[in-house]
Subunit: 225 residues, 2 copies
DNA sequence: GTCTATAGCCCGATAGAC
DNA sequence: GTCTATCGGGCTATAGAC
């Protein structure tokens, strides 16, 4: 029995990983702009610079590619959010950091936010189980943190669940509704200052709602002028 | 030259209006759940109880039906919102009414909110002109009202544009992200109390942000106990 | 791994009888 | 106005040569 070597891997592992990442990156953008059904794998392949049939060699089914896209979106988002709720930061600092991180995700990865939003709005028909197992526990954990703060008297007694929904909604909308916002602001797309203004406004609203004096509030300096 | 009467209108005008309204009502729901490309007119026809070809007699093209759906969504929404910003109400009352009306729209017409959201998130490729001409002016008018309040010293000096974006985002999300919220709350769908809690939370956040004491806030009564 | 070719399906839209 | 029948096109996916 002769020893038959495995087929040469062609040293393509690195290239393959990079190619798959390229395909996924293009897929995120197209899925976000056209929706799942409105996207053809030919369009994704064209944007990624290979043929449709070649793309299907790496991702045998469209649904598989779509789920891979959402997996990567969640990986990125969860990684950015993971470190926020675990240690004993002060509420003000953690809320600031949370708002900042989520807004930054909306600014840097607008297509990721949008493709996730499209899936949720359409009823999470293809990805509900993953949302249930990966996102919901994290949100519940954040809510629990808020409730512990309330019990400890660190923030005002608010509805922790709907506070989190509000933070999520406001930050998420700077990706999802950016086209409409840009129209209102009469520019082609949102810029850095818009996001800075948004962060200031959202932080102010959240901190005011939970009774934490915002540092940005005009501090009356007595006995001056 | 004999007088030839016009073809009898068959007294169908009323029925036709009702039938079209039925078709549009079903179309809103299906477009919201499946997206524009994911929706087949056969599915809409089936839900409306007629054949595909018969539906195409009333709406010759899919895109025409889609635009009619969005037209009706905007008509409904604009009608509910029209009376809020025109007269000289006090900021607190107007903000309360605005939040209440928009949340009510999210609760009563979730598919309308979602089909509009899907269009905006996907870049408003088919409906951008209508949003530009019908929605943007209204939002700018609301922002101008906020700015007048600031000038008059009625509310704290906040960024009026992003305040409106925040209100829009929070209220809109109770339609768009309701599936995810329901998962977090461990119920099949949001109920009336959820919307009441949301209204309380959002109102509290907005009023606190603009420096208006909320009636729900614990009012310290000096010299009592 | 990349290519050509094509199967098999669903869709929007049209034509025409009644 | 409603029906049957069908066209033409785009899509996912597969088969097979190289």
């Amino acid at each position: 029995m002769s020893i038959i070597p495995n087929p040469a891997p062609k040293r393509r592992a690195l290239n393959r990983d990079k190619l798959e990442a390229d395909i996924v990156a293009q897929a995120v953008r197209v899925f976000a702009e056209c929706g799942y059904e409105g996207t053809s794998i030919a369009t994704i392949a064209e944007n990624a610079g290979l043929s449709k049939q070649n793309l299907m060699y790496y991702f045998p089914t469209k649904q598989g590619l779509y789920e891979r896209v959402l997996d990567d979106v969640l990986d990125d988002w969860l990684e950015r959010m993971a470190s926020l709720a675990d240690d004993g930061q002060e509420p003000r600092d953690m809320l600031r950091a949370y708002i900042q991180a989520k807004l930054r995700f909306s600014r840097e990865q607008p297509w990721a936010s949008r493709v996730y939003a499209l899936e949720v709005i359409s009823g999470a028909q293809l990805y509900g189980a993953q949302i249930q197992s990966r996102v919901v526990p994290l949100l519940r954990k954040d809510i629990a943190v808020f409730e512990q703060w309330i019990e400890a008297g660190k923030i005002a007694p608010v509805n922790a669940t709907h506070l989190l929904f509000a933070i999520w909604a406001m930050t998420q909308s700077y990706a999802d509704f950016a086209p409409q916002m840009a129209l209102v602001l009469n520019r082609k797309q949102l810029n850095r200052k818009d996001f800075a203004d948004a962060e200031q406004m959202i932080t102010q609203m959240v901190l005011a709602a939970v009774g934490i004096p915002s540092a940005a509030a005009p501090v009356p300096t007595p006995c001056s002028t």
